[in-house]
């Protein structure tokens, strides 16, 4: 007969301890669920705002603008230009001509102008996606009672038109093309500044730097710079690039000044400011990539008589390049989403022309979102939601390519 050995005082409160453990386990799981719920709420909220019913009234009925029985939508560019000339005041017409001559504008652009200036649809009310789907009939009846003149349309604020139209002040004709191009131009200069200097600094710190106080200072400094708030970089950019280096960044030195602004608030300043911001990120990531290349490769290269730079250029860098590129893509993602530094540097608020040179005024996707979100009217919130979707799609593709790069090229030595 075997006796069970029970140690005194050991298993007394085992049940209580196990129960406590289970409660905390549930709490930990609940926290994780809360995080996931927050993300889902965020996505659903944005999608909810980007589609829905819109009730609008046109100031001038488009049907009355038909010429010789030809409706407005089918009129030729010359007819539309003539319409603009006869309806607008001469001052307004001349200003449009000065901004961009009508001969240079496409028919689509002139049609948008007609809609914007003459037809002028005014938004009466905007509904989000969920009410539009579930309460469509109620919306129709209330609208028929309160605003019998208004038309009701289901608008998908995010559309191919939205992406290809320039920015305007009217919600129906607004698009984000100006902002997308502004973002791309800015990122170009960011990478031109940050990539060479960043990779160079990483190579220096990993390959050439000995353990002196100066090199340790440089390393600490880079780690600290990574934690500085982005708005401080914006203020720095304002002081240095916009103000002190104004002749350079506004293009005076090159004789390419934008006639409407002639100051330093240009795409170049924005790109350089963001370049300073992402520099620490690129350096830290490139350092990790270079560190991952095994010493044996370097030693083998030295063994056949290569100099230090030859080793770095032909052996270390090619092997570290996937990691460096991943880090660069992450830095680009960070830079594309930055708003605060660019607001301080001076992104334009009302700009409808694509940036044509490094010295033009600019706006970017996040700035567009910020401006539209700050307006009190509902229709601008919907535009902001659509722009957010564009931005998120852009970032998602960037990050997906970074992950693909990382997985494809990660070799185990």
């Amino acid at each position: 007969m075997k006796e069970k050995v029970v140690v005194e005082g050991f298993a007394d409160n085992l049940d209580a301890r196990n129960r406590k453990g289970m409660i905390w386990h549930v709490l930990f799981q609940a926290s994780t669920v809360i995080g996931i719920i927050a993300l889902i709420a965020l996505m659903l909220n944005i999608i909810n705002g980007a589609f829905g019913y819109v009730a609008y009234e046109a100031r001038v009925d488009p049907d009355t603008l038909a010429v010789d029985g030809v409706p407005l939508t089918d009129q030729s560019k010359d007819q539309l230009v003539a319409l603009l000339q006869s309806t607008l005041s001469s001052g307004a017409y001349n200003k449009l001509e000065n901004d961009k001559p009508f001969a240079d504008r496409s028919r689509e652009e002139v049609y948008q102008l007609v809609l914007e200036r003459i037809v002028r649809p005014e938004v009466v009310q905007v509904w989000n996606l969920w009410p539009s789907l579930t309460q469509a009939d109620e919306i129709r009846t209330t609208l028929a009672k309160e605003h019998p003149e208004a038309e009701l349309d289901f608008v998908s604020w995010l559309s191919t038109d939205f992406v290809s139209r320039p920015q305007t002040s009217e919600p129906f004709t607004a698009g984000v093309r100006t902002a997308i191009l502004g973002s791309l131009w800015t990122i170009l200069f960011t990478i031109l500044l940050a990539f060479p200097i960043g990779v160079g600094a990483a190579i220096y710190l990993e390959e050439y730097a000995s353990d002196t106080w100066l090199n340790r200072l440089i390393q600490t400094n880079i780690n600290n710079l990574a934690g500085v708030p982005s708005i401080v970089y914006g203020i720095l950019g304002l002081a240095i690039f916009v103000r002190t280096l104004e002749p350079l960044t506004s293009g005076e030195v090159f004789g390419l000044v934008d006639p409407t602004t002639a100051n330093g608030r240009t795409v170049l300043s924005a790109g350089l400011t963001l370049g300073l911001l992402v520099l620490p990120i690129i350096i830290i990531n490139a350092q990790e990539a270079i560190r991952a290349v095994p010493r044996s490769l370097r030693n083998a290269s030295f063994g056949v008589g290569a100099t230090k730079w030859q080793t770095v250029w032909s052996h270390v860098l090619p092997n570290a390049m996937p990691g460096i590129l991943t880090g660069t893509i992450l830095a680009i993602s960070r830079a594309i989403g930055e708003t605060a530094p660019l607001v301080v540097v001076g992104a334009s608020t009302a700009i409808s022309f694509d940036p044509s040179s490094p010295f033009s005024k600019f706006t970017t996707l996040p700035i567009q979102i910020y401006q539209w979100t700050s307006r009190p009217q509902d229709e601008f919130r919907s535009l902001a939601a659509a722009t957010i979707l564009v931005l998120l799609i852009l970032l998602l593709s960037l990050n997906a390519s970074a992950v693909l790069l990382r997985n494809r090229f990660s070799r185990k030595y």
Binding site: N224, P229, V232, T373
Partner: protein, 315 residues
């Protein structure tokens, strides 16, 4: 014969020593360029300190501005000459506090779950989700705060209690923003604790919870403290969420349901308008920016010092 071989030896010696002492100009130039790249970051820091300091000095030298008054009074109304920093600082502290109340408990809970409890498959799905949360631009969080969190708070607490712009919704959304940061840093710290400690505790009969809370967390405490400090530093410097959702005017209040502008929101609002150089508003941006820079720099240095001094090294 001896003379010939002696000559050859001399030549041989000369050529060998030439090879050894050959100065490769290309290498030196490249090394110089790389050193410059490395040193460039020092320029950035010096630039920040110099530019911000210079304009901030101009600000404090203006007749209406007094350093002591800035740090002690509670009204920020530049047009009548009042420059007390406390309304802005108070709003920043309030949003940071609310954000930390969300981010620290939830962040640590998720980190403990990920490192102690979760199966590898769950971990591999959760970590990308956290990375996605961390990668969303802050302006999107700002939109979320204004269009979802504020109406939600107004539903829960009543439309009279909660204003349209309030620091509570900005703080809550900021907490969601910072949560992934705290989770990833805490999880790194927890994973660095060697398995041997856990196994020893299990061997003595501890439950999973006891191992997690009484063995692993205390061992990783320095990393956790560093994570919290970095989170606070991030919250202080956060701009767009508060610019969109927290309010557009300095307001010294302890009520989180009222609108109040933070340090960063103020900088953004002032620089979004038309600024003339050397006006008092322009210079005030630099003073505030310098203050922000020094505060976040100090916090980051403290967090690195904590990790260096208190990290427990086991193996």
């Amino acid at each position: 014969m001896v003379v010939l071989s002696w000559k050859k030896t001399l030549e041989h010696k000369a050529s060998v020593s030439n090879l050894r002492r050959k100065v490769r100009w290309g290498e030196t130039i490249i090394q110089g360029l790389l050193f410059f790249s490395g040193f460039f970051s020092i320029f950035i820091t010096l630039g920040i300190v110099y530019e911000l300091g210079k304009e901030a000095l101009l600000f404090f030298q203006m007749p209406e501005v007094n350093l002591l008054a800035t740090l002690t009074t509670t009204e920020w109304k530049p047009h009548i000459g009042k420059f007390g920093i406390w309304p802005l600082l108070n709003a920043t502290l309030m949003t940071t506090l609310i954000a930390m109340l969300i981010a620290i408990p939830l962040g640590m809970a998720v980190a403990i779950y990920l490192s102690e409890y979760a199966k590898p498959r769950v971990r591999n799905t959760l970590k990308p989700i956290l990375e996605v949360l961390a990668g969303i631009p802050t302006i999107v969080y700002g939109y979320f705060a204004l269009t979802f969190m504020t109406p939600l708070l107004r539903e829960i607490f009543g439309r009279d209690v909660v204003q349209i712009y309030n620091t509570a919704s900005a703080g809550l959304v900021m907490g969601i923003l910072i949560l992934p940061l705290i989770t990833s840093m805490t999880e790194d710290a927890l994973s660095a604790v060697p398995r041997a400690l856990r196994e020893a505790a299990y061997g003595m009969g501890a439950t999973k919870l006891e191992v997690a809370l009484q063995i692993v967390v205390p061992a990783a405490l320095s990393g956790i403290a560093a994570a919290i400090i970095v989170g606070i530093s991030r919250a202080i410097g956060e701009t767009m969420i508060v610019a969109v959702a927290a309010g557009a005017g300095p307001n010294f209040t302890l009520n989180p349901f009222e609108g109040a502008e933070t340090l960063t929101g103020h900088i953004v609002r002032i620089s979004g308008g038309d600024l003339s150089y050397d006006s008092i508003d322009y210079n005030s941006i630099f003073a505030l920016g310098l203050f922000l820079f020094l505060v976040t720099l100090t916090l980051n240095i403290i967090s690195q010092a904590i990790v260096r001094r208190f990290r427990e090294v086991y193996e």
